[in-house]
Each structure stands twice: as structure tokens, then as C-alpha cells.
């Protein structure tokens, strides 16, 4: 792999490692900005949804991929963000306030679940957040007077300076801006002491503590940050679905979000984006090829979840680094062509390592 020759400390602190990256990402932004001019309404809407899941993916990636805290309850944060946004808009608050409010309220909810679970790790945290997600989705269903109960309620279209932001194009651009903002925020976190503290907590809590990292404080911060970003995604999600109902925020959504970070590749922001692409494009891809498949297969009702499950299982068995890991290997292959050696990316054999505490 190319390693840039470093002559200054600032080189490590840049947002883009190589000058060429700046050009590529700039080009990508231009394409994404221009895309709705050419793509149909349906695809613009779907891409908007993809951006929203990518935002939530980045939020969960900070918690799970970088800090090592697994949450199976992130649907709750998406739900809290969505309902905060929709309820405040319905009460006549301006959009410029409701969206940040959705993020802040959700961040507070993140602290509320983060603080009591501070001492839990791994499995126990996953189960605790799972239970938290179950409780929140029940609250959304049963708290009729505020959430509209099981039927939910339509989401009011936001307006900024008298312009009503309605339809898939509005969601597309709002989500794109939010996604770029969130990625920049995450990049800032990751190159700061906060980001290093997160990695330290992930890899060894005990030595992180001995290096002066206050575990309780940082875990709380990361929970708040992750929940806040997911809540922002939730606020946009409300506009994406346009009619909020509590059954959207069940445990399956949480599992989808974890799958995004896992299939995408833990511990990389690219992974969160790749994972969101996988999660949102897979159903579209299946729908597209469905008609071309033999009838018994194409008409099979469980086709989508089984393909989803099979890809997840294969990914864990054969590519634990996720799509991003595969991407890095492909880049390496092209960079070295034709001098590639298969052993260059061979994983070390892993042995059963006890995570039991005794």
C-alpha cells in the first residue's frame, strides 16, 4: 500500500490523506448534487433514504465500530429523533429548531441509557440496549396522546424562509447536507483526543484507564454523540416516510442498523457508508432481478430476508472486515498490479480467545 512520505506533523491531521483524495471526493459531491436532475423521482427518494441510513450508520459506527460498545437498540434513537421532529413541527416550531432539537433530545436519551449501562460491556450491553429498544418502541405505541398510538400521524413538511421543503428532492438534499456534516464531525472526532480515547476503550479498557482516560465520561459522551447523530437521521427519516407509525422502529430496524456497521466493516467510516448502500440497495436489486428469475425463485415470498441473512452469514464467515475490508484489498490489488501476492492480505489465524472474565 502507498504510504505518503511524511515531513510534517500536520500531515497526519489533514482531512484527506492524499491530495488526489480531495479531487475524488469533490467529484463525488458534484455528482451527488447534480444527480436529481437526471434520476427519476423514485431513485431520488431511495437515495435520500440511503443517505439517512448512512447517517445513522455513522452514528452507530462511532459507538460500535470505534468504541466497541454494541447497541442492539438504535432503532429507539431513530424513533425518538423522528417523533421529536414530527411532534415539534406539528406544534408549529420552525424547522431550523426542530431538527437540532431532534438530535439534542435523542442525545439526552442516549445519556439516559448510557449512564446506567456504563459498567456493562459486550454481550450484556447488547442485551440491555435490546431491552431499551423494546421499551421505547412500546412507549411509542402506547403513549397515544403524544405519539398518536399505533396509527401514528402524518408528518408536516418543513419550510425554511417560506419555501416548503416537500417531496423526495427536498429529502435528498437535506439528507445529503446532513450526511456531509455528520461525516466531517466524525472525522474531527476521530483525529482528536476523543477519537483516540474511543479506540483505546475499545481495545483495552484497563490500560485506557491507566493512560488517564475517564471511562465513564467518555462512554457517556460517545453514547450521547452516537444517539444524537442517529436522532438527526431519525428527524430526516420522519420526512422520508411522511407518515410516522411506531411499528417502523422495532428490533428488526435495530438489527438492520447493526448489520450496516458490521457488513460495511467495523472501525471505518467508509464501512458505514458501504453498509448503508448494501442495506438499501439489496432490496432494490432483488426487486429488479425478481422478474428475470425462474418463477419458483422469483415469486418466493421469503427471498429478500433469506438473501439478507445469507449475505450476513457469509460475510462473517469469510470477510470479517466487511465490505470495506474487501475494498481495501481490491485497492491493494490494483496498486500493486501485476505484482500482487495472495499472501499480502492473508489474515492471521485466529484462536479462541476467552472474553470470559475468569
Amino acid at each position: 500500500m502507498h504510504r505518503p512520505f511524511k515531513t510534517q506533523y500536520e500531515q497526519d491531521l489533514r482531512l484527506f490523506r492524499a491530495p488526489s483524495a480531495k479531487i475524488w471526493y469533490g467529484l463525488l459531491i458534484v455528482i451527488l448534487l447534480a444527480l436529481p436532475q437526471f434520476a427519476g423521482e423514485f431513485y431520488v427518494g431511495e437515495l435520500g433514504g440511503l443517505f439517512i441510513f448512512a447517517i445513522a450508520g455513522v452514528g452507530l459506527m462511532l459507538l460500535t465500530g470505534y468504541t466497541g460498545l454494541v447497541s442492539l437498540g438504535h432503532s429507539a434513537f431513530l424513533g425518538i429523533g423522528a417523533y421529536t421532529e414530527a411532534i415539534l413541527l406539528a406544534r408549529g416550531w420552525p424547522f431550523a429548531v426542530t431538527l437540532p432539537a431532534a438530535a439534542i433530545v435523542t442525545a439526552a436519551a442516549g445519556i439516559a441509557i448510557g449512564v446506567p449501562t456504563l459498567r456493562m460491556t459486550g454481550l450484556y450491553l447488547a442485551i440491555a440496549t435490546l431491552a431499551f429498544g423494546g421499551i421505547i418502541s412500546n412507549v411509542l405505541q402506547k403513549w397515544d396522546s403524544v405519539t398518536g398510538g399505533f396509527d401514528g400521524f402524518p408528518v408536516k413538511a418543513p419550510s425554511v424562509l417560506g419555501v416548503v421543503l416537500d417531496g423526495p428532492w427536498a429529502v435528498y438534499y437535506m439528507s445529503l447536507v446532513a450526511l456531509v456534516f455528520v461525516i466531517l464531525l466524525a472525522l474531527n472526532v476521530l483525529r482528536s483526543p476523543l477519537g483516540r480515547a474511543m479506540v483505546a476503550i475499545r481495545d483495552s479498557e484497563v490500560s485506557a484507564q491507566s493512560m488517564g482516560i475517564n471511562l465513564a465520561w467518555y462512554k457517556t459522551i460517545v453514547f450521547a454523540l452516537s444517539a444524537g447523530i442517529t436522532g438527526l437521521a431519525g428527524g430526516l427519516f420522519a420526512h422520508y416516510v411522511r407518515h410516522l407509525a411506531p411499528d417502523a422502529f422495532d428490533v428488526l430496524l435495530s438489527i438492520q442498523l447493526v448489520t450496516i456497521v458490521f457488513v460495511g466493516g467495523l472501525g471505518s467510516l467508509h464501512g458505514a457508508i458501504f453498509g448503508a448502500m448494501f442495506m438499501r440497495l439489496l432490496p432494490q436489486g432483488i426487486a429488479m432481478i425478481r422478474d428475470d428469475l425462474p418463477n419458483w425463485l422469483g415469486r418466493m415470498p421469503g427471498l429478500e430476508p433469506s438473501v439478507f441473512g445469507i449475505i450476513l452469514v457469509l460475510c462473517i464467515m469469510f470477510e470479517p472486515m466487511g465490505i470495506n475490508g474487501r475494498w481495501q484489498k481490491m485497492k491493494l490489488w490494483f496498486n500493486r498490479f501485476p505484482l500482487h501476492r495472495a499472501s499480502a492480505s492473508r489474515r492471521q489465524k485466529s484462536y479462541a480467545k476467552s472474553e470470559r472474565l475468569r
Binding site: 460500535t64 454494541v70 446506567p116 449501562t117 459498567r119 456493562m120 459486550g122 454481550l123 450484556y124 447488547a126 442485551i127 440491555a128 435490546l130 431491552a131 431499551f132 423494546g134 421499551i135 412500546n138 405505541q141 402506547k142 479498557e205 484497563v206 490500560s207 428490533v251 438489527i255 447493526v258 448489520t259 458490521f262 418466493m300 415470498p301 421469503g302 427471498l303 430476508p305 433469506s306 439478507f308 441473512g309 445469507i310 449475505i311 450476513l312 452469514v313 462473517i316 464467515m317 470479517p320 489465524k349 485466529s350 484462536y351 479462541a352 480467545k353 476467552s354 472474553e355 470470559r356 472474565l357 475468569r358
Partner: protein, 293 residues
């Protein structure tokens, strides 16, 4: 008197559904103790066991007890293969990878059951369906009583198996110290597959016992999430703890449905789970432990 009878009935009903949670939790804990894997597809394995019993008893028209036995055997064999073919390969990967793997398997199982059997709810006749017993004026459904008695018998059998048979003791040894067990000549890998087989078989028992009370459908695996509460309550490392934890969760759930406003019953297990994890993370029967450096 009516109130007392009503309460007793609730307790029995709760204990019955709690036994089901307990049996699923038993599966979690058995596998966790041995391999440190957490099987999020345990509820789905139970669902497959239920469908297997439906095939044998309803579709093939076999005798209930014969179908019961075959369903257990088929599900246990499935559990064995699941470990031998898939899960054995991910040993050494982080715990979370295994969680995701079993979540993926759960998706596959749900879809497969829908394709092979049906997405509708099905049921079959059991000797206990729609019958009641009268215990000194207290009228109880035989279905619920059969669940409790079935669970007790199963627990006794498993206790004898783990304490008295060579295989059972070997399993305990492999769970406590893989390396030492391996050096003592215990075929650890096969033992682990057998442990998966037992926990799958126990789930099948749970599914068949549950059959008189509730229908079988692809989503019945969601009960597995309630079983987490049972396992955590029991300390996640204790097998009797899991079953007792299950009964506690079941009873509390029934009572909260009776005493608390509607809506609370659905979240009881979650609240119990969260409460236990926050207040007493080692469970009711566990001890605190910490990493050594």
C-alpha cells in the same frame, strides 16, 4: 376467595409461560457456558422444532408422543449440524461477530420456515388441548399444567444426564476448561456440537409443550428475546438459574398484566431485564468477576 383463585391461576399461567422462557434460556446458557457464543437464533430453533412437530403429528398423522420424540431428534440433529458446519468455523472471532452470525441465521430460519411450511399460523392436536383439571376448586388448563410438569421432568432428566453420565460430565468439563478437557482426551469439538444438539432439542421440547397454548408461526422465535431476561436474571452462567429466572419472568409478566395498566405486560420482561442488568449485573445467582491484568 375469587381473587385468590384468580391470582393462583395467573401464577400458574405465568409459571407455564415462564417454563417456556426458561427452556429457551437453558439453551442460551448451555451454549454460552461451553463455547462463549450467544445464540440469538435460539428462539428460531424452537420455531423450527415446532414446525417439525407439526409435520410429524399433523401432516404425517403420527401419534403425539412419537411425533414429539421425532421432532426432538430432528431438531437436535439440526443443532448438531449447525455447529459442525457453520458455528465451529467462527470460533476465535469476537463475540459480537457470533451475535451477528446467529442474527443472520435467525433471518434465514424464519424465511426458510415460511418457504418450507407456511407464513400462516398452524397448530396440531395434543392430549392436553382444551382440557382442564380441578385441583380443590381451582380450575386450571391441562395445557399449562402439562408445560410445568413437562419442564420439571425435563429438568430432572437433564440433571441426571449432566451429573451421572460420562458424556454429561465430559460436557461439564469441556465447558469449564476447554484445554484441560482436551488434554484429558475429551473430544471437545464433538462435545460442543452435542451441546448444540441438546440445546436445540430442549428448544424443540419447549415448542411442543407450548403447542396447546399458542399456535406455531414463523415469528414465534421472538419469544427468545424474553428468554434473555430469564437467562440474565439467572446470571447467564447458571443453568438452574435460567429456568428459575424464566419462571420469575413469566409470573411477573402475568401479574403486571393484571395489576398494571394495559401496555405494561408487553414490556415487563424488558424492564426486568434492564433492571437486573443495572442493579445486579451478576444476576440473582451469580458472583462478580473482573478481568485480570
Amino acid at each position: 376467595m375469587d381473587d385468590v383463585a384468580r391470582l393462583l391461576q395467573l401464577v400458574v399461567n405465568g409459571a407455564a409461560s415462564g417454563c417456556i422462557y426458561g427452556l429457551i434460556a437453558f439453551g442460551f446458557v448451555l451454549i454460552y457456558k461451553a463455547t462463549e457464543m450467544v445464540n440469538f437464533a435460539q428462539g428460531e430453533i424452537m420455531m423450527l422444532g415446532g414446525f417439525a412437530a407439526y409435520t410429524f403429528i399433523h401432516q404425517f398423522g403420527l401419534n403425539y408422543w412419537v411425533g414429539f420424540g421425532l421432532a426432538i431428534a430432528a431438531t437436535a440433529a439440526f443443532g448438531f449440524l449447525l455447529d459442525a458446519v457453520i458455528l465451529r468455523r467462527v470460533i476465535g472471532q469476537p463475540q459480537f461477530a457470533v451475535v451477528m452470525l446467529t442474527l443472520g441465521l435467525a433471518f434465514i430460519f424464519r424465511a426458510a420456515a415460511g418457504i418450507v411450511w407456511t407464513y400462516d399460523s398452524v397448530g396440531f392436536n395434543t392430549p392436553f388441548t382444551n382440557k382442564t383439571v380441578n385441583l380443590g376448586g381451582l380450575v386450571l388448563g391441562q395445557d399449562n399444567v402439562s408445560i410445568i410438569i413437562g419442564t420439571l421432568i425435563l429438568c430432572l432428566v437433564l440433571y441426571l444426564f449432566f451429573s451421572r453420565t460420562r458424556l454429561g460430565v465430559a460436557m461439564q468439563a469441556a465447558s469449564q476448561n476447554q484445554l484441560a478437557a482436551y488434554y484429558m482426551g475429551i473430544p471437545v469439538r464433538r462435545i460442543f456440537s452435542l451441546i448444540w444438539a441438546i440445546s436445540a432439542g430442549v428448544s424443540a421440547v419447549a415448542a411442543v409443550l407450548l403447542a396447546p397454548v399458542s399456535l406455531i408461526d414463523v415469528n414465534m422465535g421472538m419469544l427468545g428475546f424474553k428468554a434473555f431476561a430469564a437467562a440474565v436474571l439467572g446470571g447467564f452462567g447458571s443453568i438452574p438459574g435460567a429456568v428459575i429466572g424464566g419462571v420469575i419472568v413469566g409470573v411477573v409478566e402475568q401479574l403486571s398484566g393484571y395489576f398494571l395498566p394495559p401496555g405494561f405486560q408487553d414490556v415487563t420482561s424488558n424492564i426486568v431485564l434492564l433492571g437486573v442488568l443495572i442493579l445486579r449485573p451478576q444476576g440473582l445467582f451469580g458472583a462478580t468477576i473482573r478481568k485480570r491484568v
